[in-house]
Each structure stands twice: as structure tokens, then as C-alpha cells.
Amino acid sequence: MSKHSALNTFGRSGNPAFTKNFGGSAYDLPLNQRMTLDGAVNKTGILLCLCFAGAFIGWNIPALLMPAWIIGMILGFVTIFRSPSKAGSTAPLYALSQGIFLGGITLFFEAQFPGIGIQAIGLTFGILASLLFCYKSGLIKPTENFKLMIFSATMGIALLYFISIIMSLFGGGGIPLIHSNGLFGIGFSVFVVSIAALNLVLDFDYIEEGAEKGMPKYMEWYGAFSLMVTLVWLYLEILRLLAKLRSR
């Protein structure tokens, strides 16, 4: 039992995709039915390929942006809250629909700031590789306190965005400053990018622990799905940050 009451109340991970209790004890599954690192990485590769394929579609048919975003959100919530064990079928559809959304939104940013898309892709994967190295080498050690900090910050950002959307729906223009290209807006974006990036560390640790403890095979898809959720968020935030910097 954790010493932190907040952890016991809200779950044990920063990423909402990791707050489910999967039951089943480790070590009692046959070897070929256990989660492996290889499997999780390969499945992340499949999801990335599907995301790029979706981005190609979204880039060429930007009208699909909003439907793809809504479908992606629904699939994401279904995977997290309804059927993590079905991640093998929902995660590829999620990656494809989010790819269409990212392709469409990147097209709009590209029209304003040429070359911004490839910069955001390079930085997203650059952060992914460098944080993976930091995690594997033990430079960054995720602990319960680390997880609590990232979880709190992630939930805070989600709440802020939710309030901002509600305010803009009622003609309020959203929360001032955080969307501006001033120092405060850029500082806020840097903070959000940092939190999204640190969520990757929790994803790596989750996959490592799942493979180490021999969790069921479907957890490979679930781990890859969680990594995709974080990568999509990180890419969007980097895109916003670069847009703010270039619009100054």
C-alpha cells in the first residue's frame, strides 16, 4: 500500500492510460503469452507506421481533421476505460485516426510557418530517443514521488485546457496569456512540453516493469498505445511552441 493517499485515490500513474488495475498475477503465464520488451517496441513501430499513413491522408484531405480527432478521442477513452485487453484492435485505429488529425493540423501550421512540421517531428523523436537513453542508463529514476508530481501536473494542464475550451465556447476567447506568443505563453508551452516529455519516462518504466513481471501479452499493445498517446500530445505541444516562437 502506498504512503500517499492521493496515489491511492487517483491511481498510481501519471498517464491516465496506466491507472487501470489489470488483475491477474505475474509469473503464472506460459512464456509465449507474456509481455516482452521486443513485442512492445515492435507494436509501437506498427502504430507509428499507421500514424504516418494517417498523416498522409490527413495532409491530402484536411476536411477529415475534426471527424478523425473525435473518433480518435472516443477510441482513446474506450481503450483506457472500457477494454484495455482489446487494445490490439483499438490502438491501431486510434493511431490511424490521430495520424489523420495530426496530418491535417500540421498542414494548417505549415501554411503559416513553412518547415514547422518537420521541425516538430524531429524534435519529438529527438526527445523520445534522448529520454529513452536517460531512462535505460538510469540517469532518470522514476519513483512514486516523481509519478505523483507528473500526474498532478498533467491533470492540472488537462483542467486548464478544459476550462479554456469551455470559455472559448461561450465567446470568452479562452484563458488569456497561455495562448499568446509573449514570454508567459512561451514559458507555459515550455512547461507543458516538459511535462509531456516526462510522461514518456513513466511510459518506458511501465513497459519495462510489465515485461519484467511477465504481464499478459495484450499489455504490449496497451503499452504501445500509451506511448502513442504521449507522443501525439508531445508533438502537438511542440508544434504550438514552435508556432509561438516563429510568430514573434
Partner: protein, 62 residues
């Protein structure tokens, strides 16, 4: 030039991810007491000191 630099960065990073991701984390990362225990299935045996535990018998309780 922009596409070349950032495209190259993306490809190199993906190559690192697919190779490094399949490797086990270092012992510095795995063998520590303050690791997050999400699945709660492994018992921490570090608190048991070999040879120093003593069985409690009924006479000791009195």
C-alpha cells in the same frame, strides 16, 4: 537544409528507439528500492536480514 537536419534527427532518433528500446534497462535503474511497483506482485525481500530472524514460540509471548 531545415528538412535535412530535422528529418535526419527523426530518422536517427527512431533508429535509437528501436534498438535501445529492446534492451533491458541498466541494473542502476532496475535494482533500487524506490522503484514504482504498479502491479504489486513482487515482494520486497530487502528488509529480511538472513540469519537474524527468530521464530516466535508461545513461551516467548508470555
Amino acid at each position: 537544409m531545415n528538412a535535412l537536419i530535422f528529418g535526419g534527427l527523426a530518422i536517427i532518433s527512431l533508429f535509437i528507439f528501436f534498438n535501445l528500446g529492446k534492451m533491458k534497462a541498466s541494473s542502476k535503474q532496475l535494482n533500487r528500492n524506490n522503484r514504482i511497483n504498479r502491479f504489486g506482485t513482487q515482494q520486497n525481500t530487502n528488509n529480511i536480514i538472513e540469519g537474524e530472524s527468530k521464530e516466535i514460540v508461545d513461551e516467548d509471548k508470555d
